[in-house]
C-alpha cells in the first residue's frame, strides 16, 4: 500500500474500538476524543471516593437529602467523633494493625524460606511439594469457610489472635513469586558462599535474602493488602468483640449495628479511614505494584 513517511502520526486511530473513526481523521481530533474518553472514565473511577470523603463531613440529614452535592452545607466532624470516641473503631484499627503486621512479617519469612528451598535446594519430593502448592491454590476459599472454623476450634485457638494470624500465613502465590525471583539470581554468589563452608540457612539469610529486597517488597505489598482487606477468615476465626478487625467492624456498621437509621457519614467515614493505609501503600509503591503481573484478585 502506501509507503508513507517514516514517522507515522501515532494518534491516527484509537486502535481499539475505532470509536473516533478511521485513520483519515486529523491527528488532533482523535487525540482530543481519546483524552476526553479517558478523563471521563477516570472521573467515574475517582469521583465515588471523592464523594465518600466529602460526605463523611456532612450531617446525617444533609447526606440523605442532598447526596450529589460535593461540598457539605455545614462542615461537621460529628461522624469522626462518633467513630473514634463512641465506638470500638480504634480497637478495630489496632487489631487490624496487629494482624496485618504479623501476617506480613510471617509471610515474608515463610515465603522466602519456601521459595528458596524450591528454587535452589535439591531435596527429595521437591516436585511433589511444588505440585501440591499448585493444587492447593485451586481450592476456592469459600469451601474452606466452614472447615477452617472446625479446625481452629479443634486446635483450641478459637477466639485468639493466633486464629486470626496463623491460617493467613499460608500463601502459595507468594512462594511462587519468591521462587521465581530466586531462580533469576545467578548461582555463582551462592556457590562462593558454599565453598566457604556456609550452610543453607546461612546462605539464605546473609547472602541471598539481601539481594531479594525487590521481591520481598512485592510480598510486603501483597501481604499487607491481602490481610488488611481480609473479611471471611476473620468472621469465622473469632467472635470475641475484642478481636474484631476493621473489615469485620465496618461490615457490622454497614448492617446497622450502631442503632437504626441511615448514618451515611459515619459509615463512609469508617470506610474511608479503613482505605487510607492501603491507599498510602499503593501510592508509595505504585510502580512496583504495576509491574507485578500477578496480583490480588477481587471477586
Amino acid at each position: 500500500m502506501s509507503t508513507s513517511a517514516v514517522t507515522l502520526p501515532p494518534a491516527t486511530t484509537t486502535g481499539t474500538t475505532g470509536r473516533s473513526g478511521g485513520r483519515r481523521r486529523p491527528r488532533r481530533w482523535s487525540a482530543v476524543v481519546v483524552y476526553v474518553v479517558l478523563v471521563a472514565i477516570a472521573v467515574v473511577y475517582v469521583y465515588p471516593f471523592l464523594i465518600q470523603v466529602m460526605t463523611s463531613f456532612k450531617t446525617d440529614a444533609d447526606a440523605s437529602n442532598d447526596p450529589l452535592a460535593l461540598v457539605p452545607q455545614t462542615w461537621t466532624t460529628a461522624a469522626y467523633q462518633r467513630l473514634f470516641l463512641h465506638s470500638d473503631f480504634p480497637l478495630w484499627f489496632r487489631n487490624s494493625v496487629i494482624v496485618t503486621v504479623a501476617v506480613t512479617l510471617g509471610r515474608v519469612f515463610l515465603d522466602s524460606l519456601a521459595g528458596y528451598a524450591l528454587a535452589r535446594l535439591r531435596f527429595r519430593g521437591r516436585g511433589l511439594v511444588f505440585a501440591g502448592l499448585v493444587a492447593i491454590m485451586a481450592v476456592p476459599p469459600v469451601v474452606l469457610l466452614i472447615p477452617k472454623f472446625l479446625v481452629i476450634k479443634q486446635l483450641g485457638i478459637y477466639n485468639t489472635f493466633a486464629a486470626l494470624i496463623i491460617p493467613l500465613l499460608a500463601d502459595a502465590a507468594g512462594v511462587f513469586i519468591m521462587k521465581g525471583f530466586f531462580e533469576s539470581i545467578p548461582p555463582s554468589v551462592e556457590e562462593a558462599a558454599r565453598l566457604d563452608g556456609a550452610g543453607a540457612f546461612r546462605i539464605w539469610w546473609s547472602v541471598v535474602l539481601p539481594m531479594a529486597v525487590p521481591a520481598l517488597i512485592t510480598i510486603v505489598i501483597l501481604s499487607f493488602q491481602a490481610s488488611w482487606n481480609e473479611l471471611s477468615h476473620f468472621i469465622i476465626a473469632s467472635q470475641d468483640p475484642d478481636l474484631v478487625t476493621l473489615t469485620k467492624g465496618v461490615a457490622q456498621l454497614a448492617s446497622g449495628a450502631l442503632s437504626a437509621g441511615n448514618q451515611y457519614p459515619l459509615k463512609l467515614a469508617a470506610a474511608a479511614i479503613m482505605t487510607i493505609p492501603v491507599a498510602v501503600l499503593f501510592f508509595v509503591f505504585q510502580r512496583r505494584i504495576m509491574n507485578v503481573s500477578s496480583g490480588a484478585v477481587k471477586e
Binding site: 516436585g127 511433589l128 505440585a131 501440591g132 499448585v134 493444587a135 492447593i136 472454623f149 479446625v151 476450634k153 479443634q154 486446635l155 483450641g156 478459637y158 477466639n159 469465622i236 467472635q239 468483640p241 457490622q252 448492617s255 446497622g256 449495628a257 442503632s259 437504626a260 437509621g261 441511615n262
Partner: protein
C-alpha cells in the same frame, strides 16, 4: 491437567487424610465430649459471666449494662455485657466452638433449634417466680414439656399515629380506625405528596398482624399442622395487597427507609405498625415527632395482632450456671423489668408488673391491652428459614398472588413441622 499432576494431587490428598487421622488422635483427649445437657445438676464453678444481647439501640444496651453491673456489685460475681451485631450467628458460633456466652437473648423463632440440640440449660423449674410469667409466654419457651428459659419481656404490635399529621388532615379521636375499611379511609386522608398514609416493614412480623385480624393462624393449636393457606390468611394478605396498590400505603423499604419506625420518624409515612421498641427509637432518634398509640383495627376475623418475646437463655456449656440463674432472676424481677420498660418501652413478662407498667405509660396502654388478643409468632424448629422465605415472597406481594404465596409457605412449614415430630 495431565496425569502426573493428578497423581500428585491424589498423593497430596492421601497425605492430608493421614494428617487428619493424626489430628484426631491428638485432639481426642482435649475434652470435646458430646455431652447433651439434660442433666438437672447445674454447674457452680466460679468465674465471671458473659452476657450476650441483641440490642435494639443505645437505650437498651445502657439499661442492660447497668442492671448487670448492679447485680455484679451485690453478688460479687463479675459479669460483662456484649452487644451482638448478629445474635443468631454469634450464638451458633459460640455453641459450635464450645465457648458460648453464659447468658444471652434467645428469640422465639430460634429457641426450638437451640433447645433441641442441647445447647440450652432447662432451668425453668429452678426459677422462684415461675408462676408469675404470662402463660402464653411460658408456652413459647417450653420444649419437650420443660420450661427452658425465663421470658424476659414482650411487645405487641399496635398502630402508631403522627398526631400533627392527624390533626392537619382534619381527623379527630372519633376517626381512629377500628375496622379495615376505616383504616383504608384514614390512610387515604393522610396521604399527601411525598408522604404515605401508612408504612410498615414488608415482613411476616408485621403483615402477619393483618392475617391475625382476618382470623387466621400459622399452625393449629398443638403445632403439628400448618394452617398457613387458610381462606382467612388469604383474606388478610389480599387486604394488605389492596393497601399497597392503593397508593396510600407502602413498605418501608420502598420509601428508602430501613424499617417502619424510620419511615414514621422521618415523616415519610403518617402511620406505622410497630411494637413497643419504637418508643425508645423515637425518643433517641426522632424526639420532635409527636405520636399516639392505638390498638390495631379489627379485620374480617376480629381483633388481632402479633406478640414478640425473647427469653434469657443459659448455656448448657456454661461453667457457672448457678450464678447465671441468680442473674436471670434479678433481671426478671418486677422492679428490674419496670426499669427496662422505662428505658426502652418493652412490657414486663411477669403479670405482677402489669399495673406498674400502665402507671408508667398511661398513653401506651394500647400495647398492653393488645396482649389479650395477640398471637405468638411461629416458633417451630427450622421455621425461621420458612419465615425468611415468606418474607422474601412478601416483598412481591403488591403484584403477586396471595394464594400462591401462602400455598408455598404452607408446604414449607408443613415439611418443617413433619420433621420436628
Amino acid at each position: 491437567m495431565n496425569r502426573r499432576t493428578t497423581r500428585r494431587r491424589t498423593i497430596a490428598a492421601l497425605a492430608g487424610a493421614a494428617g487428619i487421622l493424626a489430628l484426631t488422635a491428638c485432639s481426642g483427649g482435649s475434652g470435646f465430649s458430646d455431652s447433651t445437657s439434660t442433666a438437672q445438676a447445674t454447674s457452680t464453678g466460679g468465674g465471671s459471666l458473659r452476657v450476650l444481647i441483641g440490642s435494639s439501640g443505645d437505650a437498651e444496651t445502657a439499661a442492660v449494662k447497668s442492671a448487670v453491673a448492679d447485680w455484679a456489685g451485690t453478688s460479687g460475681t463479675d459479669a460483662t455485657v456484649s452487644v451482638a451485631s448478629d445474635l443468631n450467628q454469634e450464638l451458633s458460633q459460640g455453641f459450635a466452638s464450645g465457648q458460648p456466652a453464659d447468658v444471652f437473648y434467645v428469640s422465639a423463632d430460634a429457641f426450638q433449634g437451640y433447645a433441641s440440640n442441647g445447647s440450652l440449660l432447662a432451668y425453668g423449674d429452678q426459677l422462684k417466680a415461675k408462676d408469675d410469667f404470662y402463660p402464653t409466654l411460658v408456652d413459647q419457651f417450653t420444649y419437650d414439656g420443660k420450661l427452658y428459659c425465663a421470658p424476659k419481656d414482650f411487645s405487641t404490635l399496635a398502630l402508631i399515629i403522627n398526631t400533627d399529621d392527624w390533626s392537619k388532615a382534619g381527623l379527630t379521636d372519633a376517626d381512629v380506625p377500628t375496622t379495615w375499611d376505616q383504616l383504608t379511609t384514614v390512610a387515604k386522608k393522610l396521604t399527601t405528596d411525598g408522604r404515605k398514609g401508612l408504612a410498615f416493614s414488608g415482613e411476616y412480623a408485621r403483615v402477619g398482624a393483618f392475617m391475625a385480624q382476618a382470623g387466621g393462624t400459622m399452625t393449629n393449636d398443638d403445632g403439628t399442622q400448618a394452617t398457613v393457606n387458610s381462606p382467612e390468611n388469604v383474606a388478610g394478605l389480599t387486604y394488605v395487597r389492596g393497601l399497597l396498590n392503593s397508593g396510600d400505603a407502602a413498605y418501608a423499604a420502598t420509601l428508602g427507609t430501613g424499617w417502619g419506625g424510620e419511615a414514621f420518624g422521618t415523616n415519610k409515612a403518617a402511620m406505622t405498625v410497630e411494637g413497643n421498641w419504637i418508643t425508645g427509637a423515637m425518643t433517641s432518634d426522632y424526639p420532635d415527632v409527636k405520636y399516639k398509640v392505638v390498638p390495631l383495627p379489627a379485620g374480617s376475623g376480629g381483633k388481632g395482632t402479633l406478640q414478640f418475646t425473647n427469653c434469657w437463655g443459659i448455656a448448657a456449656d456454661s461453667k457457672n450456671q448457678g450464678a447465671a440463674i441468680a442473674l436471670v432472676e434479678h433481671l426478671t424481677s418486677t422492679d428490674q423489668q419496670l426499669a427496662f420498660s422505662k428505658a426502652f418501652g418493652v412490657m414486663p413478662s411477669v403479670q405482677s408488673a402489669a399495673d406498674g407498667w400502665k402507671k408508667l405509660y398511661p398513653e401506651m396502654t394500647a400495647f398492653i391491652d393488645s396482649a389479650s388478643f395477640a398471637q405468638n409468632t411461629v416458633n417451630a424448629k427450622g421455621a425461621s428459614d420458612v419465615i425468611t422465605d415468606f418474607n422474601a415472597q412478601l416483598e412481591g406481594l403488591a403484584k403477586g398472588d396471595p394464594q400462591k404465596i401462602l400455598d408455598s409457605v404452607q408446604t414449607n412449614l408443613q415439611a418443617v413441622l413433619d420433621q420436628d415430630k
